[in-house]
């Protein structure tokens, strides 16, 4: 059954607004951040209007209710990814989730399995977002570990041909994206997981661009850690998720230090609580957790399977449309197999900034630039791209607007002797 996108759109007030020159908004920038349904805004303001109090801290009714709401959100996230509740840590963003790992492991004493010694290897890929790249560069710098990375092919797909020399006995960590935020390419996890497992390396998956778009089960993925952001999955800003295997979290040193993550404190030192509390210092982002719960309920009500199918169909449509415009080059896989609805492209002779400006003028919101994946851009031989990204609230008419928009941009600049 196809999604009733017209109905879904009604849940997202911003999609009813007009932008430049009274054009209706065509929002194609969900890979940067998604829009929010009324249910999410309402969940947050209901929390503030009815239950707001510091969780885990007070002995009064509001504190109990706030704690229930906050822990209920944790359970919802756990169910969403097939995990146990105590394995879910709330952070402010996927960026914090990934930094949490890098700092925690940097804090690990030498007898810990998380400790990195000089010469230990951290494996990444050339397709990483800066958030899953720079924290590891810095951990390597601090610990003396070495970075290695998978290259990508001309379509942006991770190249596994030299996997045996990349993941070897010195490899301690493999941190990799599930789906590229530039090319939409989905990572071939099975062989990477198998190789990492066989060398006992920890596997960190950046699920920012996958968890919002198709059903994920951490047990099936067989990874050790998973990071993603609420704001890319119709949830609020200011909340991220870190999932980790129970037995690993249990051994991990804390990252942020402060209230609610301790068992005892003196002026000289402190001892730390069990996960997830150990990793959630201070009064947490309670309203955002509650909003994320509402977002997950919303996605589940629509159905993650349905959303995925819808996006696959729309992406196919967009791929074929883009391919048929002369002068447009897709940066990423041109076939739907193992790719999501992130569509980067170039327009011959017209710089992405100028393309984006022209589309914006028509009410079409896309992103231009390097998409926080500078090494990947270099590898793909471009300085920047224009990127359109799809979500459950997009429909064929949005893609049509994009295609027509590109042609209009081409003819505008073409009439000035630029492009073709």
């Amino acid at each position: 059954m196809p999604l009733d996108v017209a109905r879904i759109k009604k849940d997202f007030p911003i999609l009813a607004r007009t932008v430049r020159n009274e054009h209706p908004l065509v929002y194609l920038d969900s890979a940067a951040t998604s829009q929010k349904p009324v249910a999410v805004m309402k969940a947050e303001s209901d929390f503030y209007s009815q239950h707001n109090a510091a969780v885990h801290r007070g002995a009064h009714l509001l504190a109990e209710e706030a704690t229930d709401a906050y822990e209920g959100a944790r359970e919802a996230v756990a169910r969403f990814i097939g995990a146990k509740s105590d394995e879910v840590i709330f952070t402010k963003s996927a960026t914090e989730s990934l930094n949490l790992l890098a700092y925690s492991w940097g804090n690990a004493p030498s007898n810990s399995r998380f400790h990195l010694a000089p010469g230990d290897v951290i494996v990444l890929s050339e397709a990483e977002h800066h958030a899953n790249l720079i924290p590891w560069q810095e951990l390597a710098r601090r610990s003396g570990a070495i970075l290695r990375w998978f290259g990508v092919d001309d379509e942006g797909r991770i190249d596994l041909s030299n996997i045996d020399s990349i993941i070897d006995s010195r490899t301690k960590i493999v941190a990799i994206t599930h789906q590229s935020n530039v090319t939409g390419a989905i990572t071939p996890l099975t062989s990477i997981v198998a190789a990492a497992r066989s060398h006992n390396a920890l596997i960190v998956l950046d699920a920012c661009q996958s968890a919002p778009h198709f059903a994920i089960d951490v047990k099936e993925l067989e990874v050790d850690f998973l990071a993603f952001s609420g704001h890319k999955m119709v949830g609020p800003t200011g909340i991220g998720i870190l999932w980790g295997r129970e037995e690993l979290l249990a051994e991990m040193p804390p990252f942020l230090f402060g209230g609610s993550m301790v068992t005892a404190v003196t002026m000289e030192g402190a001892s730390y609580a069990a996960p997830p509390k150990r990793f959630e210092a201070g009064v947490p982002n309670m309203a955002q957790a509650v909003g994320l719960h509402a977002a997950i309920d919303y996605l589940n009500a629509v159905g993650m399977g349905q959303i995925h199918e819808h996006e696959v169909a729309l992406t196919e449509y967009a791929l074929s449309g883009l391919s048929s415009i002369a002068g447009v080059g897709i940066v990423g896989p041109t076939e739907i197999k193992d790719r999501g609805g992130v569509l980067s492209f170039t327009v011959e002779g017209i710089h992405p900034h100028d393309v984006g400006q022209g589309l914006d003028d028509l009410g079409i919101a896309v992103r231009t630039g390097h998409h926080c994946a500078w090494p990947l851009m270099k590898r793909m031989g471009v300085v920047a791209t224009t990127r359109a990204s799809l979500y459950l609230y997009n429909e064929k008419s949005d893609v049509d607007a994009l295609l027509l928009g590109i042609e209009k941009v081409q003819s505008f600049f073409g009439s000035k002797g630029i492009g073709r």
Partner: protein
């Protein structure tokens, strides 16, 4: 489309036929600037003789706005005194920060007034300033730039 006011003919002409593009060496100062939000880059060489800009040349990749703006700038400051060039930079910066409220003084800015429309698009201001910031940086390196007010470059 309403792009005409942003992409004026003059801008697109400079984009298509940029002036002083191609680095002239040797130079007194060489700088490399990047627009971190898009990765656009510019290299700029500057030579000063007796307090005058003897040569500004540049190379780089970027959008029409950044390329044209660098072209206009390099032509505008050529041959001016360092003090005049500093004034031109300040005047252009002011226009860029004006959110469309001023088009700038044409007697000072010449062709650069064509970029006034850019100031309405915050994300593009950095494009328009890329070459200018590189030039200013080169001037500062040579001890030449004089800020209008407090004497402190900002």
């Amino acid at each position: 489309m309403n792009l005409e006011s942003l992409y004026q003919e003059l801008i697109l002409d400079h984009y298509k036929n940029p002036l002083h593009k191609g680095l002239v060496s040797p130079a007194d100062a060489s700088v490399h600037h990047v627009n971190p939000s898009c990765g656009d880059e510019v290299d700029l060489n500057l030579t000063i003789r007796d307090g005058e800009i003897q040569s500004v040349s540049w190379d780089g990749v970027g959008c029409s706005i950044s390329q044209a703006s660098t072209s206009v700038m390099s032509d505008l400051v050529q041959g001016r005194t360092v003090d005049e060039a500093s004034q031109v930079i300040d005047a252009f910066m002011e226009v860029m920060q004006s959110k469309g409220s001023t088009t700038g003084d044409e007697s000072l800015l010449g062709d650069a007034v064509a970029f006034a429309g850019v100031s309405k698009y915050p994300a593009r201001i950095k494009c328009a300033l890329l070459g200018w910031m590189a030039f200013k940086d080169a001037l500062v390196q040579l001890g030449g730039y004089r800020a209008k007010d407090s004497g402190e470059a900002k």
